[in-house]
């Protein structure tokens, strides 16, 4: 490990070389990331000029695209953020202990265990979601077990099941989101836990004479960067997802991604789809900044 000063010294200030190395990548990002966002913004303020050609649109600074979109789809927006929020919290509750056990109790099997976290995600996202359809289906193992144990009444009153089903409920959609984005939570938390000096954790145990206190005052604060990164990597894709809602949910569980997809690709209503997309991005950016401020991890991004 080089010291900070040493690292700076090894950095060269060599005229145009860095710009040469950067330019192909930058050009790609500008052309295919920033320019499309500008086009999206333009489209979101346009009207369809032709009833027959969805691609024929005209910029008229049509702010009503936004007001209409909010009026029509605020429910889906709120539902998306609620589902993604619950899934993120569930990922923390499941993922943190797993990351903790791998980092502090994994010993020489750390890398193997970490590999095991990633292996399930080598199968396609869609196929994994379809596998959950198998597991949660009406005559599948989970529902059969619940019926056998006669828990369905209890679970229905808790709002977890409905009409004796798990499929087509919010439980299934949130469960699918949690499962699909779990490694994005485990890996960053693991990375931040791994960096913690075990001597420091031991010293904290001596100081507080209590494992829980030591965790809360020393280990948890040091793992906040990982928790922050993991939450973003879970919440952002989860809130824009529509696959889980499509396969595991019913008509009452559609998310904002489902609406954008439908407006854009099925109905060819580009302006509304663009307005919804643009709003989603703005909300995500503002949310990320607030969240970074809250956790005091400003310098992370």
């Amino acid at each position: 490990m080089t010291s900070r000063g040493g690292e700076d010294r090894s950095k060269r200030s060599a005229g145009i070389v860095p710009y040469g190395l950067l330019s192909p990548g930058i050009l790609w990002l500008l052309l295919f990331f920033l320019v499309p966002l500008v086009t999206l913004g333009r489209t979101s303020l346009s009207v369809k000029a032709s009833r027959f050609d969805p691609n024929d649109i005209r910029l008229t600074w049509e702010l009503s695209n936004y007001t209409n979109a909010i009026g029509d789809y605020s429910e889906q927006f709120l539902r998306s953020f609620a589902y993604a929020g619950i899934a993120t919290v569930a990922c923390i509750l499941i993922g943190y202990p797993i990351a903790y056990v791998i980092a502090f109790r994994g010993g020489r099997y750390r890398n193997v265990l970490l590999g095991l976290v990633v292996v399930p995600f080598f199968t396609s996202f869609l196929i994994r979601t379809l596998a959950w359809v198998n597991v949660l289906s009406d005559k599948g193992p989970v529902v059969s077990a619940i019926e056998y144990l006669q828990f369905s009444g209890l679970l229905e009153s808790l709002g977890i099941m409905s009409d004796g089903r798990l499929l087509s409920t919010h439980t299934a959609v949130i469960g699918g989101l949690t499962y699909n984005f779990l490694p994005f939570m485990i890996l960053p938390i693991y990375v931040s836990l791994e960096k913690i000096d075990l001597g420091l954790a031991d010293a904290a145990k001596d100081l507080y004479n209590n494992g829980w206190q030591a965790f809360r005052k020393v280990v948890l604060p040091l793992s906040l960067p990982g928790l922050f990164a993991g939450s973003l990597l879970t919440f952002i894709p989860a809130s824009g997802d529509f696959i889980n809602a499509k396969f595991l949910g019913g008509p009452r569980n559609t998310m904002i991604g489902s609406v954008i997809q439908d407006r854009f690709l099925v109905q060819g209503d580009l302006p509304t789809a663009a307005a919804l997309s643009f709003m989603l991005m703005i909300i995500m950016t503002i949310g990320t900044l607030i969240y970074a401020r809250m956790l005091g991890t400003d310098d992370l991004i």
Partner: protein
């Protein structure tokens, strides 16, 4: 250091430790449950067109996993897209990472932000905005637009992964090689490249995995082309065939083999 001075563990503390480990073990069961289902259902003989309910055991599905047909075609397309976009994104991203780590220049922070943004933007926003661009310019969506999209989201991941991997290196080794009379090219191929290769390979594999699994961005920019995830999605309304499970199992085995090969490779390169 301080372990000797620690008080003996209380019964509660021990219960907590065991509880935590048991919880993590249950977590692993949860992670692998759908995988077990996928592999098991590749041996199912479904009645009707949907491979959802277990009927009876059969090896039939495994007799011709790559039988010609739309699923196999889609798999081939996905592999092609993943290979090309991994190579292109790895080159673009590695060059960016090298520039960011090795050189001091104006605008570094801005470029860092530009790299993070594609990762923190929901896929649906990236997919729909790119499609809007192609539509407004009259670009026919197909193989090339899929590649453009995949290179886009892979490049950021490559640049950030490689950057994180090579940040702590002792670059003075390069100067030492030059001082000893090595030419710049020899210095690069004998000193720099071996140092950064593991990071680049890891980033390349990550790109490949991201590309082959991508659904949402591809869905918006594919035109009439069908990658493997798109084919499964399109067919899922009318049919979920066991061949999907067979191919998924094959991909899983292939990836695990690749990962093990990577571990062995790293053991070897770290060894000396």
């Amino acid at each position: 250091m301080s372990t000797g001075s620690q008080p003996p563990e209380t019964a509660l503390g021990r219960a907590g430790r065991w509880g935590l480990t048991a919880f993590a073990a249950a977590g692993f069961v949860y992670l692998f449950l759908p995988i077990a289902v996928i592999v098991a259902y590749s041996f199912n003989k479904p009645r009707g067109k949907f491979n959802i309910i277990w009927q009876e055991f059969t090896f039939d599905n495994w007799k011709s996993p790559f039988a010609p047909g739309p699923l196999t075609d889609a798999m081939v397309l996905s592999l092609k897209v993943a290979a090309i976009s991994a190579v292109v994104a790895t080159i673009l991203g590695t060059l960016m990472a090298l520039a960011l780590v090795r050189y001091r220049f104006r605008g570094g922070a801005l470029i860092g932000l530009l790299l993070v943004l594609p990762i923190t933007t929901p896929e649906i926003v990236m997919g729909s905005s790119l499609a809007t661009l192609f539509i407004s310019r009259g670009v026919q969506r197909g193989f090339v637009t899929i590649l453009i999209a995949h290179v886009l989201f892979c490049t950021s991941f490559v640049a950030l992964t490689v950057k994180a991997r090579i940040r702590g290196f002792d670059w003075n080794l390069e100067d030492a090689a030059m001082d000893l009379g090595a030419s710049p090219w020899r210095t690069f191929s004998r000193v720099t490249l071996p140092l950064i290769t593991p990071g680049i390979l890891a980033a390349g594999l990550l790109s490949f995995a991201l590309s082959i699994d991508d659904f949402i961005i591809t869905f918006f920019n594919s035109g009439s082309e069908e990658t493997f995830p798109l084919r499964i999605f399109g067919a899922s309304r009318t049919q979920i065939s066991p061949q999907i499970n067979v191919l998924a199992t094959v991909v899983l085995l292939g990836s695990v083999t690749l990962m093990l090969a990577g571990v062995v490779f790293r053991r070897r390169t770290d060894g000396h």
